[in-house]
Symmetry: C2
Subunit: 459 residues, 2 copies
């Protein structure tokens, strides 16, 4: 039986037990499975059932309850916590890794989080408060402060004793080495470690070329470093190069997924935290502004089109082709913009290659403009003749589509780059500029050309 | 000096040395830095310089050359290899991890890869050939066959000896435990390992609930498992539950990035492997079919619009609002479709929550439809009166926008779900269906309503 099949069977029996109100039996089953699977089960329950079950889990196994709530993700995690009594909420958050607790507390209404922090043990609350001091989406905010740092004069044997004594340290992948001023000077993997004699000092066997990030480094940059150097964890240092935390690869995976979702959503005019499970009202509030922006762009374009009232009135056939004009400029612009935005996001587009890239996209735009222009012109000419014995529409379409695709290639590359240089998120803002240009320039080219050419040929 | 600043300085000095044709000095500098940084330097050079440098690196340090080429990614890696002599190509690929070699060989023209495989040492070529037998984008294809599996009756002390003897095993994160039939029965982390007495057999200390995938498991599913359970590596088993390889978290990060890029690109009508550094011809070939599809959709819509020739001829003002109609239906559909597609991709949308989600999106669509319909109606009515003393256009717009946004909510959720159930990639195919419906239904609703209402009011 595959793992996912097992999970479905498990979920079924949990649901059956819940229908019989046998919550105790359920909690016993949950104790035997991975906290990620508990989170999956919790996700699939109704709100009242979930509340009841988490409440029971808190009484039976606080550590497991804390892990499971962490695994649920921020939105669902905060939601679930809010259904618990204040005392239990404090207990659960206190039991969590400080980075997970900080993430959840940071997403709560401020008075709630302040109240909880005041009730937490001072040791735990101060480490969470420290994390919350850093800006959101920085290394400082997402780092784990539970790491293993040893002094450079300690030996391999002493280090093993330290490791064995620190059973609680959740997971660690590397041993970091510091000098007497606590500055990060070396690193080694656990495996590297096993290969050396117990008497050797760490100084002799550590790697000194340590890749680290600062507390203020953006989480996207942290993810890039971890991915680039295939790391399992990256140390976070303060201004004086003292190690203050580590970001582990499992958190990096979450960052990479969240950043990709953010880009996908922004490019489609959706807010980054608009989830399938967000409440309807929250999705409404997040989508209306975007729809408003696009309505605005549409109305401005309508205004532009209205300037050609005379031409359209004389040649109604032009209106038939509006969907083609709007669509082709939009799609060509979208293609280039998306390749540029994603190239910037995954670091493909370094400053050395930008000129080469713009030049390439211009050639692609010219070629695609000629090809699609010719194709659109031929079909439109045929349709124009068929509908109104007007095959000149084919010429207008051919030139307009050529111009629009070529121009789209230019602003699809240049706008995201300009935004990036201005420190504005290219994924967030490019679509608005690109759409506006596509629409306004697209329709003015088409209708302007028609006015000139039809006037010229005296049609 | 930050790490990225150091890299830029390094790149500058490399470029200076290359201008002086001092390739030997350059190769010496490269030997001191991480292979990922070498790949970065190689990316930034001109083709002839890169060829020269890689060629030199092969002579100086074959292992480093192999690592650096692996780090360049498939497209650039294959390109770079093709500039080397056949003998060097064989040497470099032979030196690589088998999964990296398989990835590059799988992307080469078949006759090239066959020729190289025939020249590789039989041990190395057979392990690469084994990987190439699995389908692309499956666990079998991306796994590393170099892993650590011990027998359950071996002791901790014996295991440490095995580890120390296997200095070559690149990295390993977990020790896998097998029974006498080589079936996977347990797992433990290196750290867990350090906490136990040397005399204990692995059977006593291993975790028996091992999460594994099959050789045929899709890489996206492999990534989901690793992310869900916060693993550093996941074992890959054959039909008889024998361990045949592991997929490590660094490869999972590449998979997650590639799958996100694929979705972003498909949603924008771009091919998955259309990179910023792809040659112009390759980008042209990949984008033309998409533009062709959208031209087709546009022309079909033009045909639909032409059916309303009489109405448009009588009320030219309708044409002014075409950009608004096309844009609003398109954007609303795009929003919902994107949330659905991404929800499916990151596993937010499990089968239990689908009905709830559709119902939610329908409510969001209705609310946004009413709001935006009212807004669009008001502004359009005002514009209509200003342009042609026709404020009825406001009523037509209000109803049309309301209908279009509500309908977009339905097919933006239902189409990706139907495609997923039909085992068709929702990211790839949804935009085509959604665009077609948006355009055709959008314009027919608007023009149909206008025909009816203007007829009714006898305007």
């Amino acid at each position: 039986m595959t793992h996912s099949r097992k999970l479905i069977v498990l979920l079924e029996s949990v649901k059956k037990l819940i229908r019989r109100k046998d919550f105790k039996h359920v909690a016993n089953i949950l104790r035997k499975i991975h906290s990620a699977d508990i989170a999956y089960v919790l996700h699939s329950l109704m709100d009242t059932e979930r509340t009841r079950l988490v409440d029971m889990l808190c009484d039976m196994d606080l550590e497991l309850a804390a892990e499971s709530v962490s695994e649920m993700g921020v939105v669902k995690g905060v939601q679930t916590l809010s259904t618990l009594s204040l005392v239990k909420r404090v207990k659960v958050l206190q039991e969590m890794d400080s980075d997970d607790a900080a993430e959840l507390l940071g997403a709560m209404p401020e008075e709630d989080s302040r109240q909880i922090l005041d009730l937490m043990s001072s040791e735990e609350s101060s480490s969470v408060r420290d994390l919350l001091k850093y800006e959101e989406e920085t290394a400082g905010r997402i780092m784990n402060t539970d790491f293993l740092a040893l002094r450079e004069d300690q030996t391999v044997g002493e280090a093993i004793q330290v490791i064995q004594a620190r059973e609680d340290t959740a997971v660690f992948f590397y041993i970091y080495v510091v000098d007497p001023q606590d500055r990060l000077v070396g690193v080694m993997s656990l495996k590297h470690f096993l290969l050396h004699a117990p008497g050797l000092p760490l100084k002799k066997i550590m790697r000194t070329n340590v890749i680290s990030v600062n507390t203020e480094t953006d989480q996207e940059e942290v993810a890039r470093q971890v991915a680039k150097y295939n790391l399992l964890a990256i140390p976070v240092v303060d201004g004086a190069n003292r190690i203050v935390g580590v970001v582990t690869v499992d958190d990096i995976i979450d960052v990479i997924k969240a950043e990709a979702t953010e880009d996908i959503f922004y490019l489609a005019g959706v807010d980054a935290d608009d989830h399938t499970y967000s409440p309807a009202f929250s999705s409404i509030r997040k989508r209306i502004p975007w729809l408003g922006i696009y309505l605005g762009i549409g109305l401005v374009t309508a205004w532009v089109v209205s300037a050609f009232q005379g031409t359209i009135g004389a040649y109604v056939i032009l209106a038939f082709f509006f969907p083609v004009v709007g669509g082709m400029a939009g799609n060509a612009g979208n293609q280039v913009m998306t390749v540029t935005v994603r190239g910037l996001a995954i670091g493909e587009l370094a400053s050395e290659s930008i000129r080469k890239y713009i030049w390439k996209e211009l050639r692609v735009g010219l070629f695609n403009g000629v090809t699609m222009g010719a194709l659109a012109g031929l079909v439109s000419g045929f349709l124009g003749y068929f509908w109104e014995q007007n095959y000149y529409i084919g010429l207008v379409m051919a030139i307009a589509i050529f111009v629009n695709i070529t121009l789209a290639a230019i602003w699809g590359t240049v706008i995201p780059l300009l935004l990036k240089w201005s420190k504005i998120d290219p994924a967030l803002s490019s679509p608005i500029f690109v759409s506006t240009l596509n629409d306004i320039i697209g329709f003015s080219t088409f209708l302007g050309l028609a006015t000139i050419l039809f006037g010229l040929f005296g049609l």
